[in-house]
């Protein structure tokens, strides 16, 4: 006796959250059944393995049919085939677009192309996430990217509108799209200590302050591309380190203000010129795409690592950065105050976030 056909269709589509998770995680039906057995469900319900198998198959089939609709979530809301309560629809969408930290760190900043897709095998092996799940997550990134690129208006709003994600998840996707578009390098060994959250935080600041959208909300792609003019202008900041007088003045201003307040004052004093040079040079280099990509590598190399090697506590870094940014306003010979604020305001937030072990 073999089962040829075995289906269950409810007027309200049954969604089992646990099975959905297993499906999203890319487990095959048999693996999923094994995992469910291990969870002790048979003992709880008195069911048999055959029942579990049939149930899992049913859910997998349903999810497979829903997947097409999940690719364009508004369709899920308007379709007539599956009657699903709104709260469940939201859950289906949110979970489908959720991603694994380990996975996103692997592809963050990479071009969402076929080439990267080929690397998913390796990523899967490395992270222990099933290839199927990797593919879904990658395709989600790519799909969101495709839909929102060249779109007007706020990136987060666009994502929310077209994919009906929660605010938090939409922000994460905005970061992913922003990173993918600007191809920021995040995979270097130096950067391994950083979490997706760190990058997402920086991305948000950069979107708010450094993109076209920060100055003009009526252009295509406004939140995706960095403001080229702004990057060009950043060269002007070079004077802060090129002009020796200016650099000395800056240093003395900072040192005067921080004397006695900083645990690592002497280290700061000794390193001031290096640190300042590093931060300003990062800005000046941003005209080249290549250097834009290396932004985070540079920040870590030029600022985070030196401070860390001198064991600066985070509070001292905060004090220093505050003073370092603010003191520029007192430099009479420096004319690019607004530019400096736009640059340093964002960098300040980013650096604080990046500064941890």
């Amino acid at each position: 006796m073999t089962s040829e056909l075995d289906i269950f269709v409810g007027n309200t589509t049954l969604i089992d959250e646990d099975v959905y998770r297993l499906w999203l995680d890319g487990y095959s039906v048999s693996d999923a059944v094994a995992l469910r057995v291990r969870s002790g469900i048979l003992e709880q319900t008195g069911a048999t393995a055959a029942v579990l198998q049939s149930d899992t198959m049913d859910h997998y089939r349903t999810f497979h049919m829903l997947e097409r609709l999940l690719h364009a979530p508004p369709k899920l809301l308007h379709q007539l085939i599956f009657q699903i309560p709104p709260s469940r629809q939201a859950l289906l969408i949110e979970r489908y677009y959720a991603f694994d930290e380990a996975f996103v760190r692997e592809v963050l900043g990479k071009k969402l192309s076929k080439g990267t897709k080929k690397d998913l095998d390796d990523i899967s092996t490395k992270t222990g996430i099933t290839l199927k799940s990797c593919r879904r997550q990658f395709d989600n990134f790519k799909r969101v990217f495709k839909v929102v690129e060249e779109m007007r208006g706020s990136l987060v709003d666009n994502i929310q509108q077209h994919f009906l994600l929660s605010d938090r998840l939409a922000r994460d996707y905005a970061a992913i799209v922003f990173f993918a578009n600007n191809r920021f390098e995040t995979g270097k060994k130096k950067l391994q200590y950083l979490s997706f959250g760190d990058f997402a935080f920086c991305a948000e600041l950069m979107i708010q302050n450094w993109t076209l959208g920060a100055v003009d909300s009526q252009v295509d792609d406004m939140d995706m591309d960095l403001d080229k003019e702004f990057l060009q202008d950043l060269k002007e900041l070079k004077v802060l380190v090129a002009d020796k007088d200016l650099l000395d003045l800056h240093k003395s201003l900072v040192c005067t203000a921080l004397r006695g307040k900083l645990g690592v004052f002497s280290e700061m004093e000794a390193n001031f010129k290096n640190l300042s040079r590093g931060l300003v040079n990062v800005a000046a280099k941003l005209t080249h795409n290549k250097d834009v990509r290396d932004l985070f590598v540079d920040l870590v190399e030029k600022f985070v690592e030196p401070c860390r090697s001198d064991h600066w506590p985070l509070s001292d870094v905060r004090l220093f950065l505050n003073q370092y940014s603010a003191s520029v306003h007192s430099l009479d010979g420096f004319r690019h105050q607004a530019l400096w604020d736009r640059y340093m305001g964002t960098l300040h937030g980013c650096l604080l976030r990046l500064y941890h072990d």
Partner: protein, 1028 residues
């Protein structure tokens, strides 16, 4: 009444990409009705076209309006080649033809293609203007309302229940026409869908005409079926119960229908019946003829050897084809028999000049209070026929004659049970190649004539009748003459009123009457059976089947009886026995809901007897089994809370002086065969069922009895509308369909292996359901409807549709407690009046008894007065399936952001926690789906899963477009699945029906009624408007 049909095509959405180059579609729409077609403009390059067409107007006869569906085709415009069809929508405009239903059909409909399934949606608005033109010769029956619901619809009152209406139409099946060889599968499927739609329209119109002739205005319990007879054609047939209904003005006032006896009564009901009814045996009617009147019908059935009271041993079913061999003409014998019975009838009622109704049948399963007087038992008949080509579709005489024979038989069985009517009546067929089994079954009953149009019972008699009826047990009292019983039954005095005789078990096809007193809860009971059969051709095949049928019926009933005893229960409701024929086997599946009726005696246990009593180990084995059985019975009694009042036994002693014992199961069934009294043998133990284990088969049977696992705790199941003993439903419901197909390993199949496979299939299916619905606990699966088919040699397909309803556990416990107390009380009060009839009942000896049964009625009536009213009050209050207030605490979650309105579907006639305020019309849809890329669509499971989901979606969309928010009395009448995995192909046909309704949550209703007391509320949750 010609009419003007107006259609507007508004927009489309989610259309498929038809032009690969642009990834877009140039869509336009053809609107067709009859022979007229209109087209919209082409909306270029869009998957969400906005046509916003003008109103397309069709001026048509109302006859066409009833028959024809509106056909909407969405196409992709192609400049150079033929336009590609995207899909179609068929809209049945019948709901627009009667005033109280929908006024407009408007909404998003899924665009359906038989090859690709649903491909986007289209927004359509349809209206009808009817003109009055009364001079025309009436061919149409606009205005007659149709209901699938098998009870009086909730917001109506039955003025008169006229009775049985039936009709069938036949046609050639387009799939088998020569042209099918040259047309595409799509064209063929569409031709079939369209034809069936046309035929059902025609059928409904014809039935409507009959109803108008009877002066009714509605058909209740309308059941329409298709017989796909293959080469020999396509039959669409329908049965129903004609009624005159009055709409209750206020949705809140649900008055029982019995308040106004009709003034129009003209004739005695079922005047052709030579048996005076038990109830008409008042003083005004002399009763001399009662005893003898049984004999003609009885001898008739004996002589023709064709009467199988469904439980009969007589191989009635074999009759048709069995005689074929002898007499050459296959159906002569039956025809003769029919004419004979017709003559007999005429002789029996010479003074009747006009027979308004041929068959006193009712497709209803639930009745207005007081309608059902007595229930006799299940009657059924089957007949095996060879299909031949239908030569003249306009004269479907053969099919008509076949059904007429069967119905005639049913009638005579009912007569033999002393009943003048059959309720809970249904008909079905099973077809395999050119052999067809026709089946009909129902419950013989005595009805209160007040509701029937041509009843002439004097007022005084009526009064007496009413007093005569003790509530809660009246229907259990035997309608037949105990001295002339049509079969050997084991009678006792009613445990409720102590006045009348009741059988020891009662089988019926109806729902549990609302006033019945039940102890504990009920449960689903199934008997499952397979029998191998040699492959054969034509007549030889029919004969083989005919020979097998009686044995199957016997065994099915044995199983049912055993399982019932094992549950400690004494009555079955909603019994449905399905016999399915396949190439090399027959399958029998009986489902029913077992309950413990307080009025019937406590069932005895099951006794096992070995054949070789000297063998020690064998004895031990037997006693071990016996213990197991006893344990199971005890466990079940606890599980289903069956705690009948013990006192009754002591007070009464045994009302039967000489309890008869039986050695074989069947004999003890009250509905069992009609003539084999001499086989009743005495056995040692009192009142016990004895299973004789004389071979391995019997052993298997006992084992299989014990393998049925009860549902996990928190679950109950039944196949009736509501579960006895549970009356505090919450509003959460989940309707579902589950389909399973298993392939049997063909090697050395034995009956036993087959039985086991089949049994496992059903049990596993139930287990799966319990598992899937575990989040709804505590819940009850109601209206569990199993259908079995044998699509191919080694395939068994089981389809289940049911609804899971949650209930409030705490309140359930409370009410049962009260309930038990009440029945205890009742038992004790009743006991005092007990010994008025120290009657000696001895049913198997039939000497002429001096006791006139009618007198008994009279006396009981006089001594009984007063009590029933009080009892009725109690039971009515208890039986209401939706007690006020039970639902307020838990209402459905608000669906605030949803853009698609929720449409509930349920096989029940009501929605828990809600009131139905309007019936919008019948939904009757037929779909075909075919694929040539089975693997790509996820195999057979993927294919059928998607198709059923699509069918649900289309039903919901139609209901929503009518302005409704639920379908009640939903059934999937057919699900024919065929596959050819080698060719990567599959095809499936599904037929569903139900009543589209508007319901309002009780909580909302209160708000509405306080705000605007008389509002005929159009509820806020209509959900019909699907907005973009």
């Amino acid at each position: 009444m010609p009419g003007k049909l107006k259609v507007k095509i508004v927009a489309g959405r989610h259309l498929p990409v038809m032009d690969r180059a642009s990834d877009l579609t140039d869509a336009f729409v053809e609107v067709k009705f009859g022979n007229t077609t209109f087209k919209t403009d082409v909306y270029l390059k869009s998957l969400n076209p906005q046509w916003n067409s003008e109103w397309f107007k069709f001026e048509v006869d109302d006859e066409d309006l009833q028959d024809e569906p509106l056909q909407i085709t969405v196409l992709d415009h192609d400049t150079y080649s033929a336009n590609d069809a995207i899909g179609k929508v068929y809209i049945d405009i019948d709901p627009l033809l009667y005033s109280e239903a929908a006024t407009v059909i408007s909404g998003w409909f899924p665009i359906y293609d038989t090859i690709h399934g649903i491909r986007g949606e289209i927004n359509v608005v349809v209206k009808v203007d009817l003109f009055n033109d009364l001079n025309r010769f009436r061919q149409s029956s606009c205005g007659v309302k149709f209901f699938c619901t098998t009870s009086i619809p909730k917001c109506y009152r039955a003025v008169i229940i006229h009775g049985f209406v039936e009709e069938l139409v036949v046609n050639e099946d387009p799939e088998y026409q020569w042209i099918d060889r040259i047309r595409t599968p799509r064209a063929s499927n569409e031709a079939r869908q369209r034809l069936i739609s046309l035929m059902s329209g025609e059928l409904q119109r014809k039935i409507g005409l009959k109803v108008l002739e009877m002066r009714g205005n509605a058909v209740v319990g309308y059941l329409q079926c298709f017989d796909l007879e293959g080469e020999s054609g396509l039959v669409v047939r329908a049965i129903g119960t004609a009624c005159t209904l009055d709409k209750l003005s206020s949705p809140a006032a649900f008055l029982p229908a019995c308040n106004s006896p009709s003034k129009e009564m003209k004739e005695i009901p079922f005047n052709e019946d030579p048996n005076p009814n038990t109830h008409s045996s008042g003083p005004s009617t002399p009763l001399k003829n009662q005893t003898y009147s049984f004999s003609p019908s009885k001898s008739y059935s004996r002589q023709s050897s064709s009467s199988d009271t469904d439980l009969s041993l007589t191989p009635k079913t074999g009759m048709g084809s069995g005689s074929a061999g002898k007499e050459g003409g296959p159906f002569k014998a039956l025809l003769r028999q029919q004419t004979q019975s017709a003559l007999e009838q005429r002789g029996g009622s010479p003074h009747r000049f006009c027979r308004r109704r041929e068959f006193p049948f009712f497709t209803l399963t639930a009745f207005p209070p007081g309608f059902l007087v007595h229930v006799g038992g299940v009657v059924s008949a089957r007949s095996v026929k060879l299909l031949d080509r239908i030569h003249n579709p306009d004269e479907p005489e053969t099919r008509d004659a076949w059904w007429a024979e069967i119905r005639q038989e049913i009638k005579s069985h009912a007569k033999a049970l002393g009943c003048h009517a059959v309720v809970g009546y249904s008909e079905s067929t099973s077809i395999c190649e050119e052999v067809c089994i026709l089946s009909a079954s129902g419950t013989a009953a005595v009805l209160n004539p007040r509701f029937l149009q041509d009843g002439t019972v004097e007022g005084c008699l009526e009064q007496r009748l009413e007093e005569n009826l003790p509530a809660g047990c009246g229907f259990c009292h035997i309608p037949y003459d105990e001295l002339n019983m049509p079969f050997p039954a084991h009678l006792t005095y009613c445990y409720n009123c102590r006045k009348q005789k009741v059988p020891d078990v009662l089988f019926t096809t109806i729902d549990l009457p609302t006033d019945a007193t039940v102890i504990g809860k009920g449960c689903l009971i199934q008997a499952r059976l397979c029998r191998l059969k040699k492959k054969a051709q034509a007549e030889a095949n029919a004969t083989a089947i005919s020979n097998l049928l009686p044995f199957m019926e016997y065994e099915v009933h044995t199983q049912l009886m055993n399982k019932l005893k094992l549950k400690g229960m004494n009555a079955l409701f909603g019994l449905r026995i399905q016999i399915t024929v396949g190439e090399n086997m027959l399958m029998g599946l009986a489902s029913a809901t077992g309950v413990y009726l307080a009025a019937l005696p406590t069932p005895g246990g099951i006794q096992i007897a070995g054949k070789t009593p000297n063998d020690g180990s064998y004895e031990q084995h037997i006693s071990h089994m016996q213990k197991k059985i006893n344990d199971t019975i005890a466990k079940n009694k606890e599980l289903y809370e069956i705690t009948p009042p013990e006192i009754s036994e002591e007070i009464i002693g045994s009302p039967i002086p000489e309890p008869r014992q039986r050695s074989r199961l069947l004999r003890s069934q009250s509905e069992s065969s009609d003539e084999v009294t001499e086989l009743d043998l005495s056995h040692g133990k009192k009142d016990a069922f004895v299973l004789e284990i004389d071979d391995t088969d019997a052993m298997e049977d006992v084992h299989s009895l014990l393998t049925d696992v009860p549902p996990p705790s928190g679950f109950y199941s039944c196949n009736t509308e509501i579960m006895p003993g549970i009356n505090n439903w919450t509003s959460e419901i989940q309707m579902f369909t589950s389909v399973r197909v298993i392939r049997l390993s063909s090697l050395n199949l034995t009956n036993q292996a087959l039985n086991k496979n089949f049994n496992d299939l059903c049990e596993n299916l139930l287990k799966s359901l319990y598992f899937k619905l575990r989040s709804m606990i505590p819940c009850c699966l109601c209206h569990v409807n199993f259908t079995v088919s044998l699509p191919e040699d080694e395939l068994i397909q089981v389809t289940v549709t049911a609804v899971a309803i949650t209930f409030d556990k705490n309140q359930a416990l409370q009410t049962t407690k009260i309930h038990v107390e009440k029945s205890l009380q009742r038992a004790s009060t009743d006991n005092e009046e007990l010994l008025q009839f120290p009657l000696e009942l001895c049913s198997d000896s039939l000497p002429s008894h001096p006791f006139p049964p009618a007198k008994e009625h009279l006396e009981s009536a006089s001594s009984n007065s007063g009590i029933p009213a009080a009892q009725r009050a109690v039971t009515v209050e208890k039986a209401s399936p939706m007690g006020e207030g039970n639902f307020r605490n838990r209402s459905a979650p608000p669906c605030a952001n949803s853009t698609v309105g929720v449409v509930k579907m349920t096989p029940l006639s009501f929605i828990p926690g809600a009131k139905i305020t309007k019936y919008l019309g019948i939904i009757n849809m037929f779909f075909i789906r075919e694929t040539t890329s089975l693997r790509e669509e996820g195999g057979v499971s993927g294919f059928l899963h998607a198709f059923i989901a699509e069918v649900f979606a289309m039903v919901r969309a139609h209901v929503a477009a009518l302005g409704g928010n639920a379908v009640v009395s939903y059934i999937m009448k057919q699900c024919v699945f065929m596959e050819n995995p080698n060719k990567n192909q599959a095809q499936c046909l599904i037929n569903v029906s139900g009543d589209a309704v508007v319901f309002v949550r009780e909580s909302e209703l209160e708000v509405v009624s306080t705000q605007q007391p008389t509002a005929n509320c159009q509820p806020s949750c209509t959900g019909g408007e699907v907005t973009t």
